[in-house]
Amino acid sequence: MNTIAKQIAACAVILSTSAVWAADDGLVVLDWSAYDDENFFLGYIEKHGDMPVFSMFGEEEEAFQKLRAGFKADLTHPCSQSVPKWREAGVIEPFDPSRIERWDDLNEIMREAFKYEDGYYLVPADWGTTTLTYRADLVEEAEMESLQVFLDPKYAGRTSIGDNVDDAYALAYLATGLDDWTKATDDDFRKASDWLRKAHQNVRAYWVDGAELAQLMGSGEVLFSWAWNETAVTMSADGFDVVSNREPVEGSSDWFCGYANVTNQANDEAKAYDFINAWMEPRSAKYLVNDWGYGHGNSAAMAELGEDVINAGLGEIDAPVLSQVPMDHALRENMIAEFEMIKAGF
């Protein structure tokens, strides 16, 4: 054959071999963007000398589609709402608790929440709160005692809500007086949607990640928001007078995420357990609480941190708390559809 044909053949060979390179390391973790922070798993690096291979996602549905399309990974990082669906779709499988060193120290409620007939599906890793977060230097603190402030016409164009259906509906259910969404009736759902539709009138932008919200609040354009507690921690560290109020009369919400064992695994499981054991070390918990403002799945390590936990806004509170536990998937799909309508102005 002529040289052009040879060159084409050579290109084909190069293309087909380069596809293999994605999975040559001993551990592939499909994780939220920014979670490839080595301080979370120093123990793993000490043992194996190198970082695992990370594949990042910005949103759980993206990760889910990727796994269903056959992406090979060892571990992934869903939040509580997604676990039942991922399990039903068969993309994740149970862990063997005997291989997790600090199993008994893990947060019992979160750990047991995902115990099914065939075993434990989630190792609780990180949790946090979603709260009314405001610029204390720009608003009257007295007004920040109720979630109804999101409807005040005075703040048109000055508020922000997360572009996240669970957080948004947690806010709406709390504001309409419901703190357990597993008990939500159709009527509750309608009331919450109507509330959210009114709150939409004041929203400047729906924030997608913490950095975007920090920009919106840092410029003073957004005065208060429904935000993860990370925002108050990181913005205060940057010198802004930002306060996270977990105790308005209607309350606040909390959520948790963890590591799940991917069915279509890329490698031997030993390294996956090493990674989880490294994550569950007390030093990882300390880093997560102090630098990220989130709670850690190892409750024994959290208890040792004491003061730090309260400062990060993770202690006990005296207001209603809506926990973002899994709900009926039909209701959740309705929530997703309705939230998109509301955001588009319908």
Partner: protein
């Protein structure tokens, strides 16, 4: 034996060489473009039921896509924004192309064209973020206007709405409009312009009667090049569009991801494609008539 010699004879023909040359790109296009497109068409006739796909063919997705208000509004909004972006881009690009073609020393034209592409050396996302910095609440525009004492409160209608989407897209697509218009202007025989002047046309009449009609193919190419991709853009509206600046492409992305309804997303995508195709064909036809009536 006979077949083999027949084959080796055929291998020496022009036809075989042409086929050999075109086959790899053709197969590549088939695998990378036609196959995914066919998959999207197939999907649009199926139904998503939580985790499973119901493969019985149905028109329901199309019915939803064409009858529900939200999709109608988003589609119309996308068309409106794309039309405005196209108009703004072409109107602003024409003077630049004209200047480069008619007033720049021919030896420096390549340099100028090269300079026009410089914004493309940075990532598109970087450019969108820079627009956020420029248009933001305490950004460059508001800071300057407040510093000059022209406004007291920062302007909020310049970011997180449809204006911001139009502005950002027009800037991003400008080079794609400048280049085809420039090429069309370059092809104009300068003696025709002299002839127009000799026959008594002033600069304005000369422009509208000679230059513009001859540059029309370039203007048209620019319009189509800008109009078609901007309808499908979803990054820009997501970042600078705010609550009311979302477009049909955002809805398509959403159906495939969060809403977990790939069939409806496919139906929306195919519908959008059809609408764009119809508009482009009408546009081409109108232009052909325009050129013919002038010719």
């Amino acid at each position: 034996m006979f077949a083999a010699s027949e084959f080796s004879r055929w291998r020496r023909t022009e036809g075989f060489k042409g086929l050999a040359l075109v086959s790899p790109p053709f197969l590549y296009a088939l695998a990378m473009l036609a196959a995914p497109l066919a998959a999207v068409v197939l999907f649009s006739f199926w139904t998503q039921d939580y985790l499973t796909l119901d493969r019985t063919p149905t028109w329901n997705n199309y019915r939803t896509a064409w009858s529900e208000t939200i999709y109608q509004v988003l589609m119309l909004r996308s068309l409106k924004i794309s039309a405005l972006v196209t108009a703004a881009t072409v109107l602003l690009s024409f003077p630049i192309a004209y200047y480069v073609s008619f007033y720049i020393d021919p030896r420096r034209k390549t340099l100028w064209i090269f300079l026009i592409t410089i914004p493309f050396w940075t990532s598109y996302l970087m450019r969108i973020f820079l627009w956020k910095v420029i248009l933001g609440y305490n950004g460059v525009v508001n800071g300057s206007l407040m510093g000059l004492g022209l406004i007291e409160e920062p302007l909020t209608f310049i970011l997180y709405n449809q204006n911001a989407v139009i502005l950002t897209l027009s800037h991003a697509w400008a080079p794609f409009a400048i280049l085809p218009i420039f090429v069309a202007l370059e092809r104009i025989d300068r003696s025709l312009l002299e002839a127009a002047e000799d026959l008594g046309d002033g600069p304005l009449r000369r422009f509208f009667r000679v230059t513009l009609p001859l540059a029309m193919p370039g203007v048209l190419a620019a319009s189509v090049i800008v109009f078609i991709p901007t309808i499908g853009d979803y990054v820009t509206p997501r970042l600078v569009g705010g609550p009311n600046g979302l477009l049909i492409a955002n809805m398509i992305e959403l159906q495939f991801k969060k809403a977990n309804n790939a069939p409806l997303g496919s139906a929306l995508a195919i519908s959008a494609m059809l609408i764009v195709a119809v508009i482009s064909v009408v546009f081409l036809w109108l232009n052909r008539r325009y050129i013919r009536s002038r010719g």
